[in-house]
């Protein structure tokens, strides 16, 4: 299957309607202490959603995904995946025979203690690494068979990464950081700017466009990182301990935002964490220990308290 096909199938079958329409208010963010900004009417700019409109490639009927009825075909499928690291003479298996299927629209939380292999798993899901043994299927195609530039393209178009340590480019300002994934996709400069402005509006950082990461607080940095991860409107968001470096209040805003993306945009969210707090957002929890899946719990109704 050609790469473009894979990506197209992803896009069409996924519920990626006019991005973030429903997140207009993003009111929760404005509750964060450091952003009582002087924005007059955030709603107005946000209505100019550059992801919407006739030219928008991602504009799909909200129901299209569901109607396609392909819920039983997993987005990502791991079969007997091993990951071993060479440590001098000895080998260390960070993942030992993991079988997992991830479906669109899921809010998956991978929960496990430190060193259990969560990040290793995350890297495989995000096409940042290839398994030592076993297969990672992305929409039914084996990622081990794709070449470097194809993997880069998948990462660029399909997956939004959120890291524990934010991983912003320190020499680029807020806007440039958000623009970067669009630059890699050679998005038209004007549209890219509109999208960046829109996303920064949503995460409440319109007034920090020209600040360098070093001039932002941890929470603000992670919001920039979220805006960046959403820039290409990817169907999947992968987050590795996204709240690990944040205080619980700021962390909660980030999580509720991701929750909103999942609920209202149908984005597939995969969060890897050791923090039990996060389970309340999950539709499914994968418990991992010593590189093996211990158990999987499913929740039909994920609804954190306080969220309406």
């Amino acid at each position: 299957m050609a790469l473009t096909e894979i990506i197209e199938i992803f896009k069409t079958k996924l519920n990626v309607s006019g991005i973030l329409n429903s997140l207009d208010k993003a009111a929760d963010f404005y509750g964060e202490s450091d952003i009582y900004s002087e924005m007059d009417d955030p709603g107005e700019t946000i209505k100019n959603n550059p992801y919407n409109g006739p030219g928008g490639a991602f504009v799909k009927n909200v129901d299209a995904g569901k109607l396609s009825g392909k819920k039983e075909v997993p987005l990502i499928k791991l079969t007997d995946v091993w990951k071993t690291y060479q440590m001098g003479e000895s080998e260390f298996a960070a993942l030992r025979g993991v079988n997992l299927e991830i479906y669109e629209g899921e809010f998956l939380v991978v929960l496990g203690p430190s060193g259990s292999g969560k990040s290793t798993l995350m890297n495989l899901l995000g096409c940042l690494d290839l398994p030592s043994k076993g297969t990672v299927f992305l929409n039914s195609s084996d990622i081990s068979e794709l070449d470097e530039s194809e993997l880069a393209r998948i990462r660029g178009q399909m997956i939004g990464f959120i890291f524990q340590s934010f991983n912003l480019i320190p020499t680029l300002n807020t806007q440039e950081n958000v623009l970067l994934p669009l630059e890699f996709l050679e998005e038209d400069a004007r549209t890219a700017r509109e999208k960046a402005a829109y996303l920064l509006e949503i995460v409440g950082l319109s007034d920090k466009k020209y600040n360098l990461p070093s001039q932002l607080s941890g929470g603000q940095r992670q919001r920039v990182a979220i805006a960046r991860s959403l820039a290409v409107n990817p169907p999947v968001i992968l987050a590795d301990e996204p709240t690990g470096n944040l205080d619980s209040k700021t962390g909660n805003y980030i999580l509720e935002f991701l929750y909103g993306l999942n609920k209202k945009e149908g984005k597939t969210i995969i969060i890897v964490t050791h923090d039990l707090e996060l389970v309340k957002y999950a539709t499914r929890i994968v418990y991992i220990r010593d590189g093996q899946i211990e158990k999987i719990e499913e929740y039909t109704q994920n609804k954190p308290e306080g969220m309406i």
Binding site: G156, F184, E186
Partner: protein, 413 residues
């Protein structure tokens, strides 16, 4: 990723680079400055040599007593050649022996020496050359600015160089003025045009008169025998014939025993040109070494920079950068480093080239006209060279950066 984006990213990296990175640019600045400066010196020297050669009569051959290497013996009347065996002499007999050589247009003996010359109560030691007034005006390339050259009937008259006429003595010497050489009155009949060489401070006198004015000079004995070949092409065969004839007439069997030397101004010219270009090459090579050092400096900085940016590279790969994108960003960056170094290097080269005239003058034994400048062509060359060096030295680090595995890069602390 578009080229404009590469430029943007590379520029961003450059503008945020640490002082340490800027310091390595100095290597390129010095290297390019030195290369450009030396090449411009070479250009100027060559230009000067060429213009000098254009004035030169390339059909001239000088025969001088003693065997010396051609290089060290300047042809012409002021040969200060380092002759080792001064015990041999050139005489009328040698000229007679050469009469039959084909291809010779003119032949004449010359004597030379340094004598005190008095004028208007002042006294200076000048170089005196005794020339054959019969043929001198046909053989010399010198020209008068006023008066005339020597005529066959002349004896105690002189043609003087431009410096002698005005400059050496407080009072200028005009045509028909009388100077005194060893107490003997000599009338000035001609003043030479300035030519920027030794001739400017020389005095030319018919050889019959000069014999009595120059210490140790003897009738029929010459310091140099000047020969003018009929054409430039004949110079080589004429030289060979002269050597053969003189060896026979002087009863010399082995070349090692030769007690005279034959030098063509043509071969002089060739060796001077050769010397100039090999000197430029030599200096250029030294300058190139500093360029290499500069290149290693850039490479080193780039390696460090790649190491420092490992995590960023990982991040960029995670958000969609291909290997090629990373490669290009770093290559563009090092090209820019080279470019900046090139600009300052060309500026340094221009500065260096303004210092060279003094050095150039002493080397060329001439004054004034060294028009050293940095041609636009050379400036462009310097810039291109710097950019190429930047790209070449940045290539390996950039390649290394591009090949980093995203996971490994992201894990890097």
């Amino acid at each position: 990723m578009r080229n404009s984006t590469y430029v943007k990213m590379a520029l961003n990296m450059l503008l945020h680079s640490k002082l340490r990175s800027w310091l390595t640019i100095i290597g390129i600045v010095i290297g390019v400055g030195a290369v450009v400066g030396i090449l411009s010196l070479g250009d100027a020297m060559e230009e000067q040599v060429q213009s000098r050669l254009a004035e030169m009569d390339l059909t001239k051959i000088a025969i001088s007593p003693g065997y010396t290497r051609a290089m060290s013996n300047m042809p012409g009347p002021h040969g200060e050649g380092g002759n080792t065996a001064k015990d041999s002499e050139l005489t009328d007999d040698d000229i007679d022996a050469l009469q039959g050589v084909e291809g010779i247009q003119h032949i004449a003996g010359e004597i030379s020496g340094s004598e005190e010359v008095d004028y208007a109560g002042e006294n200076a030691t000048l170089s005196i050359t005794g020339v054959d007034p019969q043929v001198w005006k046909y053989m010399t390339t010198l020209e008068t600015q006023s008066g005339r050259l020597l005529e066959p009937a002349d004896k105690y008259v002189a043609v003087i160089g431009s410096d002698v006429a005005s400059g050496i003595y407080d009072q200028d010497i005009g045509i028909n003025q009388v100077i005194k050489i060893k107490g003997k009155s000599v009338r000035v009949v001609g003043i030479l045009t300035e030519e920027g060489g030794f001739g400017d401070s020389s005095v030319y006198i018919p050889i019959d008169g000069a014999v009595s004015l120059i210490e140790d000079a003897e009738e029929g004995v010459f310091d140099t025998i000047m020969v003018k070949a009929q054409s430039e092409d004949l110079v080589d065969t004429v030289m060979e014939d002269i050597t053969d004839k003189l060896m026979i007439s002087r009863h010399i069997v082995r070349e090692d025993d030769m007690d005279f030397s034959v030098t063509a101004s043509k071969s002089m010219a060739e060796s001077v040109t050769e010397m100039t270009s090999s000197m430029t090459l030599f200096l250029g090579a030294i300058a190139a070494v500093s360029l290499i050092v500069g290149a290693v400096g850039i490479a080193n900085t780039m390696f460090t920079s790649v190491l420092e940016k490992t995590k960023e590279i990982g991040t960029m790969k995670a958000i969609g950068a291909r290997n090629r994108d990373i490669l290009m960003i770093f290559i563009f960056n090092s090209a820019m480093v080279g470019f900046v170094g090139g600009i300052f290097g060309v500026m340094l080269g221009a500065f260096i080239s303004t210092l060279f005239p003094m050095l150039g003058m002493t080397m060329m034994r001439s004054e004034g006209d060294t028009g050293i400048f940095l041609s636009p062509r050379l400036m462009l060359f310097g810039l291109v060279l710097a950019v190429v060096i930047g790209v070449v030295s940045g290539a390996i680090p950039a390649y290394r950066a591009s090949k980093l595995k995203p996971v490994d890069a992201l894990r890097y602390e």
